[in-house]
Symmetry: C2
Subunit: 300 residues, 2 copies
DNA sequence: AAAAACCGATAGGCTAAGCCTATGGAATTA
DNA sequence: TAATTCCATAGGCTTAGCCTATCGGTTTTT
């Protein structure tokens, strides 16, 4: 079955006549006859009742007509949708985010965008900062809220810094250094519970860098990939941790979050995209995100 | 655009490769290339990003893919629906009825049928008994609840009598003949408000026949096509009326409905259909209607 | 570093699908 | 009865869609 069959079929149904439809479609009547015979043969049921002088639908034909109209309308719609997306008037923006993005008021940005671009769907995909880079390259997401890019991605991806996220020490409530500000040198002999480098090289490397500037290399007791298990470990006395402030989803009563004295204790929160896959729609999303974030930054 | 384009398109989208799709569809890779180039040209937007080694969708392509899948599914569905209707498993039964049919417990029949044939839609069309005959011939309805057929339709249509509907005299409350039983001869000098012969020849002719048997031909004061205006006329003292009992939708306080003494004061309530357009679905509907009516008759 | 493998685009030829004109049978209209 | 209108069918033509083969480009293998 092809759309041609449906076009012919609906034309005949509309006109109530094969030859009438042929005139309307600017083809010979025999073409209509042949195509509809094929269609009926494929379906295995008569769609028309042919009696000389008058042509009407069978019950099966009436049922098929409803569907045929719907399909033809959908076909037009499909082309229209593709064109609108091509022009940047509609579509889906796939957004990568990670736990820490939520602290940055991403939800409010989403709401703002939804209001302004009602025809645009937003699809949110949770990924680690590192996963987002490759996802951007592969075109699995259009924009990523992630950490500063590793050098190997700098040529292929663009990124703009939205925020400097302070790194804090996470200590048991009763730790002598709490509540800070903490000098990292005082923590040199602690065990560290860090988040995996696979999740966010930027954070991991920054932690190592800070420790090294403080004159030691951290003794790593355990590595974890999710915030909740880091919290659990620290509470359990397994060690202490250093993490960006915004990655903490909820403050736990039993933990202290202590600022560091080091002035470069920050990791960047960036919005990244692939210039090679740029398109009008994601461009306007980025623009709005930037404006939105400036707005938030000024308020805060 | 043809369905072929959509089949090729979704295959490529699924396989992530032109040649892969070609293998799956058992055609040459060049055929895929050509057809998709045509499709993209018609839409006016690229649907795929071709880079050697990897082929992915553009944003427009992703949007189009959703629609394409829907359309292909609809096409399968359309064929399926037509086949089911052809086999009598689904479809729409278009039923003609007139005011009097409601008195015959048509609503309950509808409900019963709906329960048993959930996939079948019933479409109810109000028409006069006479309109139903031609509608049956033209295939505008599948079954009609109507009055006895005029002779000219007897060869083309079948009808089965469900009920004999007594004709009653409709008199002002204080009329001397009320509440009956009435001998028609007592009404010979009255003015009559009758319903139009165009609405129901059976009723009109029966009324004339009854009067003629009573030895007079009725003086017709007014002819009306709807019950409510007949009631209005009689209440206003314009005349009296003779109508089938079941065509009265609601009893009005100011009117008397009086049985006649004549023993043939009946018109038939019939179910009619066109044997030429018969199909399994309407056949089973008729069967159920018959059983249902027997049931009602026994109870009453 | 060269070779092999794989990708999609393109060219040229072939075939069959779809269209055309012409005709025929059936029913309606003049 | 003749003329008209309907749809089906036959036969021929054109072209759309498919095939094979090849090319340039990239990745993978050797």
């Amino acid at each position: 079955m092809e759309l041609r069959h449906l076009r012919y079929f609906t034309a005949v149904a509309d006109q109530g006549s094969f030859s009438g439809a042929a005139r309307r479609l600017h083809v010979a009547q025999s073409a209509i006859s042949e195509q509809l015979a094929n269609l009926e043969h494929e379906i295995g049921a008569a769609l028309f009742e042919r009696s000389a002088r008058k042509t009407g639908l069978t019950p099966a034909g009436r049922a098929f007509l409803e569907e045929a109209r719907r399909i033809l309308a959908s076909a037009d719609h499909a082309i229209d949708v593709a064109q609108r997306v091509h022009r940047g008037e509609a579509g889906t923006i796939r957004i990568g985010f990670f736990t820490g993005s939520m602290g940055m008021d991403l939800p409010r940005l989403i709401r703002t965008f939804r209001r302004q671009y009602a025809r645009v769907r937003l699809s949110l995909v949770e990924m680690t900062p590192k996963q987002q880079w490759t996802a951007l390259l592969e075109g699995k997401i259009d924009v990523g809220f992630t950490r500063r890019l590793e050098p190997e991605f700098r040529s292929e991806l663009r990124a703009i810094t939205l925020h400097q996220d302070p790194i804090v020490a996470i200590l048991p409530k009763n730790h002598p250094a709490a509540p800070g500000p903490v000098d990292l040198r005082d923590l040199a002999d602690e065990n560290f519970v860090l988040s995996s480098r696979d999740v966010s090289p930027a954070v991991f490397d920054k932690v190592i860098e800070l420790c090294s500037e403080a004159g030691f290399s951290p003794r790593i007791a355990s590595i974890s990939s999710v915030w909740s298990s880091v919290a659990l470990m620290v509470q359990a006395g397994e060690g202490i941790s250093l993490l960006p402030l915004n990655e903490q989803q909820f403050r736990t009563r039993d933990l202290a979050f202590c600022p560091l004295k080091a002035k470069n204790a920050f990791v960047e929160f960036v919005m990244a995209w692939s210039p090679r896959r740029d398109n009008p729609l994601t461009r306007s999303f980025r623009q709005l995100a930037l404006a939105h974030h400036r707005d938030v930054a000024v308020r805060g």
